[in-house]
C-alpha cells in the first residue's frame, strides 16, 4: 500500500510544479543554472563513455563476425544501430542517473534538512516550481543533446578503433554507416532520451524533496533515487522497445 502513497505524492509534486512563477527572471536564471550543471557538468563523462563504447562495439562485433561471407562494412552498420538504438540513450542515461540523479537528490535533500526549502516556502515561493521544475526542464533540454553527442562520439569511437586495430579501414566504415540507414531509429532513440530524462530528474527530485532526517537519510535517499531511477529506466526501455519497434 505504501507504494501507492508514494506514487500519489509523486503525482502531487509534479502537479504542484505548475503555477505562475513569482518572478520569471529568477526562474529563467535558475533554469540556465541547471542547464549548465546538468549539461556541461556531465559532458566529460558522457564523452569518455560514448567514445569507448563505440570502440569496444567495433572490436567485439569484428571478433564475432568471423565468416568472410559478410562484408566488413556490416560491422559499421551493427555499431551504428547498436549505438543509436541502445548504447547512446540507455547506457548514457544509466550513467547520468548516477551522476545527475544523485546530485539532484542530495542537493534537494540537503536543502530540505537544513530548512532552506522551508525558508523559501515562508517567503511565499512555490518550491516545487522553483526548485524541481527547472531541474526537470533542464534535464529534458540537455540530456537529449547529450544523447545525440553520445551517438556521434560512439560512432567516431568505433571508426577510430576499427582503423587503429586494423579491423576495417575508415572509408569502409563510412560506407557501412550509410548502408540501410533507418532515420526512424533516431526518432526512437530520442523518444527514449526524453522519457529517460524525465525519469532521471523527477525521481531523484522526489526522493530529495521529501527526505526526512539528517545527513544519513540524505545519503540513503540519494542511493534509493539512483536505484529506483535505474530500474524504472530499464523498465521504460523495455516498454518503449515493445511499443515503438
Amino acid at each position: 500500500m505504501k507504494i501507492f502513497g508514494e506514487i500519489g505524492r509523486f503525482i502531487l509534486m509534479i502537479k504542484g510544479m505548475f503555477s505562475k512563477p513569482e518572478n520569471w527572471k529568477m526562474y529563467w536564471k535558475e533554469l540556465m543554472h541547471q542547464c549548465s550543471e546538468i549539461g556541461f557538468g556531465s559532458l566529460g563523462i558522457v564523452a569518455i563513455i560514448s567514445f569507448f563504447i563505440g570502440a569496444v562495439s567495433t572490436i567485439q562485433t569484428a571478433y564475432q563476425l568471423v565468416t568472410p561471407l559478410i562484408p566488413l562494412s556490416t560491422i559499421a552498420q551493427i555499431v551504428r544501430d547498436t549505438v543509436i538504438l541502445e548504447f547512446a540513450p540507455t547506457l548514457v542515461c544509466i550513467v547520468l542517473a548516477g551522476v545527475v540523479g544523485s546530485k539532484i537528490a542530495s542537493e534537494l535533500g540537503n536543502m530540505r534538512v537544513s530548512e532552506q526549502i522551508d525558508a523559501l516556502e515562508i517567503m511565499g515561493i512555490n518550491t516545487k516550481a522553483y526548485l524541481v521544475m527547472p531541474k526537470i526542464v533542464a534535464s529534458l533540454i540537455m540530456i537529449p543533446l547529450l544523447v545525440i553527442l553520445a551517438m556521434v562520439l560512439g560512432i567516431i569511437g568505433g571508426r577510430v578503433a576499427g582503423s587503429m586495430a586494423g579491423i576495417l579501414p575508415g572509408t569502409t566504415f563510412d560506407k557501412g554507416l550509410l548502408q540501410d540507414f533507418v532515420p526512424y531509429n533516431v526518432f526512437f532513440a530520442m523518444a527514449k532520451a526524453y522519457t529517460f530524462s524525465f525519469i532521471i530528474s523527477s525521481i531523484p527530485a522526489y526522493f530529495g524533496y521529501y527526505v526526512k532526517g539528517g545527513a544519513l537519510e540524505i545519503g540513503q535517499s540519494s542511493t534509493r533515487a539512483v536505484v529506483v531511477s535505474c530500474i524504472l529506466l530499464l523498465f521504460a526501455d523495455y516498454v518503449l522497445s515493445a511499443l515503438l519497434l
Binding site: 503555477s19 513569482e22 518572478n23 527572471k25 529568477m26 540537503n110 537544513s114 530548512e115 532552506q116 522551508d118 525558508a119 516556502e121 515562508i122 517567503m123 511565499g124 515561493i125 512555490n126
Partner: protein, 276 residues
C-alpha cells in the same frame, strides 16, 4: 496581531497540539516556551503555514489564514520573515545574495537600490563588510544575524524566530535577543519566538505562552512569570537551584521580601560569600 483559536494538530493519531489559543500583539516579543516535545515547533509551523492545523483558526490581522487559498496565503507569507534554528541560509550564495534573494524575487527595484537595502539591513544587524562572505565562513551568531537581516529585508509585519539562541554562547545569545527586541519595537513587528532559553524569557518576553503536552499551560509576561504559582511552569523554568535562587532574588528586588522565609546567605551559599 496574530490570533490563535483552538488549534489542534495530530500526526498518525498522536495529538501534538491540543487546543492552543493565544493572542500575539504587534510591537511585542511573543514567546512560545515549553519542554522538548511540548508542541511549540509544530505550533509555530502551523502559524507560518508549513503544517495545516486539523482544527482551529489562525488570524493574521483578522484574516483567517487557515481558510485562505494558496494565492491568498502567498500574499500573507510575503509579510512574514522567519529566522530558522539553523539559520537556513543558502549555502551556495554569499551573504549579500542571500539577503538580496527576497528582493530579487518580489521587487522590481534596480540593483543599486537592492544593494542599498541589503547594506542597510546588514548595518542594522551589525554585520557591515560581510557582503561577499559565504555562510560557511561565518560563526553561528553571525549566521543568525544574517538570517535576521534576510527575514526583515522586505519589511515584514510578522517575524518568527525558531530557537534563535540554540548553539550560541550566552553573550552572543544576549546580542541576538537584544537585536530581536529592538527590531520588534523599531518596525512595530509582531514577533513570535520559540525558545528554550530562560534568559530570553526574562529579557524579551513581553508575552509568554507556556506549552505542556500540546496544551496551553500558562500565559503572561516576563514580569508575571516569577510570581506564577503554576507548578509545571515553575518546574520547567526554574529547574535548577541557581535559577530558583535567581527567581527569589528577583522577587526580593520587586517586592522587598524574601519568599519562603529563606535566608539570603542560604540562597547565595555561605561558601560563596566573600571572606573577611
Amino acid at each position: 496581531m496574530i490570533e490563535l483559536k483552538n488549534i489542534r494538530k495530530s500526526f498518525d493519531g498522536r495529538t501534538v497540539i491540543d487546543g492552543a489559543t493565544a493572542t500575539m500583539k504587534a510591537g511585542q516579543c511573543n514567546l512560545i516556551i515549553g519542554a522538548s516535545g511540548s508542541g511549540k515547533t509544530v505550533l509555530m509551523k502551523c502559524m507560518v503555514g508549513l503544517f495545516e492545523p486539523d482544527e482551529g483558526e489562525i488570524l493574521y490581522g483578522g484574516q483567517d489564514f487557515t481558510a485562505m487559498n494558496n494565492k491568498e496565503k502567498t500574499e500573507i507569507r510575503k509579510e512574514i520573515g522567519m529566522l530558522f534554528q539553523g539559520s537556513a541560509l543558502f549555502d551556495s550564495l554569499t551573504v549579500e545574495k542571500n539577503i538580496m534573494f527576497p528582493l530579487n524575487m518580489f521587487t522590481e527595484w534596480s540593483h543599486q537600490k537592492k544593494l542599498e537595502r541589503v547594506n542597510e539591513v546588514l548595518a542594522r544587524v551589525n554585520l557591515k563588510d560581510t557582503n561577499k562572505k559565504f555562510p560557511a565562513e561565518l560563526s553561528g551568531g553571525m549566521k543568525k544575524r544574517v538570517g535576521i537581516a534576510r527575514a526583515i529585508v522586505l519589511n515584514p509585519k510578522y517575524l518568527f524566530c525558531d530557537e534563535p539562541n540554540s548553539g550560541l554562547d550566552p553573550q552572543t545569545s544576549l546580542v541576538i535577543d537584544k537585536l530581536i527586541k529592538e527590531i520588534t519595537i523599531e518596525y512595530n513587528i509582531t514577533t513570535v519566538v520559540n525558545t528554550h532559553d530562560m534568559n530570553s524569557v526574562m529579557e524579551i518576553g513581553d508575552y509568554i505562552l507556556y506549552m505542556h503536552k500540546g496544551k496551553k499551560e500558562w500565559e503572561g509576561s516576563n514580569k508575571q512569570i516569577i510570581f506564577s504559582k503554576n507548578q509545571l511552569l515553575n518546574e520547567f523554568i526554574f529547574a535548577s537551584e541557581f535559577l530558583r535562587d535567581a527567581k527569589e532574588m528577583r522577587m526580593l528586588e520587586e517586592t522587598g521580601k524574601i519568599p519562603n522565609n529563606r535566608n539570603i546567605d542560604e540562597m547565595i551559599g555561605p561558601e560563596n560569600l566573600p571572606k573577611g
